[in-house]
């Protein structure tokens, strides 16, 4: 049994906390999903930028449907599926489908500013008034609160 790490376009970094959260013999994959890339509306410039980033990362690049590839790989590996947390609803839909059959764990990236979940987001400066102090501190207050 080993874990599978799904590195998606919102977390293309080799020291993302998702790596520390996974078991030592985990495998790492990026899925080049034609339909997803078209839905996101990316032009050629962006695709090249993403691909240039991928070839520097310790992972396998697979072409296919996100859900189908991940379900097959996770089935073979037998462990958890670890994924960097993302607000992207399309990626979340894929994760929701995977949850039916697999143990899926989301891993947050390093925080910029640790703030209460309910921080006021009505306008930027309401947020900034609350965030300023921790944002101006190295580490963003990451050992003193919740993101």
């Amino acid at each position: 049994m080993s874990d599978l790490i799904w590195l998606h376009e919102d977390a293309l970094r080799a020291d993302h906390p998702v790596f520390a959260a996974a078991g030592a013999d985990s495998s790492v994959v990026f899925i080049w999903d034609d339909a997803y890339l078209q839905q996101m509306g990316y032009g050629f410039k962006r695709l090249v930028f993403i691909y240039e980033t991928l070839v520097e990362l310790p992972l396998t690049i697979l072409r296919g449907d996100q859900f189908e590839c991940l379900a097959r790989l996770a089935g073979e590996a037998g462990g958890r599926v670890l994924v960097p947390a993302t607000p992207n609803p399309r990626l979340q839909q894929t994760l929701e489908r995977l949850r039916g059959d697999f143990e899926v764990e989301l891993v947050d990236d390093v925080a910029f500013a640790m703030l209460p979940q309910e921080v006021d987001l009505k306008r930027f400066f309401r947020y900034w008034n609350k965030a300023r102090k921790v944002a101006m501190t190295p580490g963003g207050g990451s050992r003193t609160g919740t993101q």
Partner: protein
């Protein structure tokens, strides 16, 4: 599912391979900005957070060009903030820089809490027009960068060629599209997301909403005097070639938002 290549002798070979992987695209321009952590970290060495606060609004100001790397989390906001704090004597010297990083954190939080706001008006337009009075498709002359407004055409050319545009130039183009041409912010946002290397549904779309006034208290507009203040030497700022921008803010507001003006 099949395994894709990872080893390429040259950038051109990689580009050719990505072209094979994206048969649905006809346009094949490539940015001079190279992807990957190596390129991002090299660029990180060159940033000047102290200068940034003073000059960032100028089109030739000391901006970082790091947004594409931050967009895909190749670099983190935490990393940039910590670097800025290490390089200053007093945190206040880099507050403007850190505040700009905070804008991205803010947009991401809005995205997480209210994902529906990415494509829907957060609030009504404050322009005197209703949402259905804005065109839903981008006019062809804008797509081609042939609007006849010289500075706008120059900015569009940079966007199409490089996939990057100074933030102030983005605001000018967005204001022109939404307020001078009365095109919906969604059409403009989709177009920017296609071309910008750092295009992010949250930062991009919510900034378009801010310009449009659907996520802000008033529409953002600019005039030729403002452009001249911030433009670099390469921007055409002549009145002859930018006639629709050559007016006071009051005149422009009357012209662009006549119903709003009539109500006041």
């Amino acid at each position: 599912m099949n395994n894709l290549h990872r080893d390429f002798a040259t950038r051109d070979a990689l580009i050719e391979y990505v072209a094979e992987l994206s048969p649905w695209l006809d346009e094949r321009r490539v940015s001079p900005i190279v992807g990957g952590a190596k390129a991002g970290l090299e660029k990180l060495e060159t940033i000047a957070p102290l200068e940034y606060g003073r000059t960032r609004n100028f089109l030739n100001g000391s901006v970082t060009g790091l947004a594409p790397y931050v967009r895909h989390a190749i670099l983190t906001l935490d990393q940039l903030r910590n670097l800025a704090l290490r390089g200053c004597e007093r945190p206040a010297q880099v507050e403007k820089f850190i505040q700009q990083l905070a804008w991205r954190d803010y947009w991401q939080r809005v995205y997480r809490r209210y994902p529906e706001r990415i494509w829907s008006d957060v609030e009504p337009y404050k322009t005197g027009y209703t949402a259905d009075e804005y065109a839903t498709e981008l006019p062809k002359d804008i797509v081609a960068g042939e609007t006849g407004v010289a500075c706008i055409d120059q900015f569009i050319a940079v966007l199409l060629q490089t996939g990057y545009l100074h933030n102030h130039a983005r605001m000018y183009v967005a204001a022109y599209v939404v307020h001078w041409r009365r095109v919906s912010w969604q059409a403009g946002a989709r177009w920017f997301l296609h071309h910008l290397l750092d295009g992010d549904p949250a930062s991009n779309n919510l900034s378009w909403q801010w310009v449009a006034s659907t996520f802000g208290n008033k529409p953002y507009i600019f005039n030729l005097d403002n452009l001249r203040k911030y433009a670099d030497g390469g921007t055409n700022t002549t009145a002859r070639d930018n006639a629709v921008l050559d007016a006071s803010y009051e005149e422009l507001a009357d012209r662009l938002f006549p119903r709003k003006a009539a109500r006041q």
